[in-house]
């Protein structure tokens, strides 16, 4: 067991988490879960930001991920409100049935 891991491992972890987010986005049918997958992806990105910040010894990466977090919060608020509305109108959370764009 090594004492330390290289920074790239953090990045790979970030990629894996991001991939999981994408997978959730693609395979899940529940809107809420899809939405959470997005959060997962954002988190994965945040991890890379902070990792790079460590590498460069600069705090700016933290600031970026801070902003990401803020945007995520705003997005969650609006997104969940939208989900509420969709549910009220269609009585379903299944993403396949929300396809009015098609026609």
């Amino acid at each position: 067991m090594p004492q330390t891991v290289p920074l790239s491992w953090y990045l790979i972890l970030s990629a894996i988490l991001f991939g999981l987010g994408v997978a959730g986005f693609i395979f899940r049918r529940n809107i809420i879960t899809v939405f959470m997958s997005i959060e997962l992806m954002l988190n994965a990105v945040n991890l890379s930001f902070i990792a790079f910040s460590y590498q460069l010894r600069q705090v700016d990466g933290h600031i970026f991920s801070f902003f990401v977090m803020v945007v995520a919060a705003a997005e969650a608020a609006v997104g969940l409100a939208i989900i509420l509305t969709v549910f009220k109108n269609r009585a379903t959370l299944a993403i396949d049935e929300v396809n009015s764009l098609k026609n």
Binding site: V5, Y10, L20, R28, T33, E39, H62, A76
Partner: protein, 165 residues
């Protein structure tokens, strides 16, 4: 120790992430997501981002995820029924995903070979003080703009959640 902590929490994060994807009930997914976030917070700490770790726990795991859980309960959302029509998406998605992971890993390995080993305490710039300084000097305008963004988000949420729509 650094490596151990990394492997432990990385494993937790990945496991929770997988659980998020495979669970059919949204409440399980939400709990898994909280797990991911907690694990990530520890990793942030390892990378010297103490403020971000705290924010991650408070804002993400605390506030946002509560919102999620709250909505799930409000809608009384049950487990997914196994009837996906998007076979096409899966056909396309699985290879795309695998390709993605492979490419990214390859790129990270190939293009970033000289990454230094991560040692706890090697970078201490992530304190609340340092971030505050940055935020209120260099990033003051974006910071203020985010406040507007959040205000708009609140208004949007209020408008969307009104009864008439």
């Amino acid at each position: 120790m650094d490596a151990f902590l990394f492997f432990l929490f990385a494993a937790i994060a990945v496991a929770c992430g997988i659980n998020l994807v495979v669970q059919t009930h949204p409440i399980s997914s939400a709990l898994s997501l909280i797990g991911v976030m907690g694990a990530l917070a520890v990793l942030y700490l390892l990378l010297g981002a103490e403020f971000m770790a705290a924010a991650q726990m408070i804002v993400y795991a605390g506030a946002i995820m509560v919102l999620f859980v709250f909505v799930i309960m409000l809608l009384n959302a049950g487990a997914e029924t196994r009837k996906s029509r998007a076979t096409f998406a899966k056909l396309l998605g699985v290879p795309a995903l695998i390709g993605f992971l492979m490419t990214v890993s390859f790129l990270i390995q190939a293009l970033l070979p000289r990454t230094e080993p991560v040692k706890f305490g090697a970078f201490t710039g992530g304190t609340a003080q340092a971030i505050g300084k940055k935020l209120f000097t260099e990033y003051l305008l974006p910071f203020e703009v985010t406040s507007v963004l959040i205000l708009i988000a609140i208004l949007g949420a209020v408008v969307l959640a009104r009864k008439e729509i």
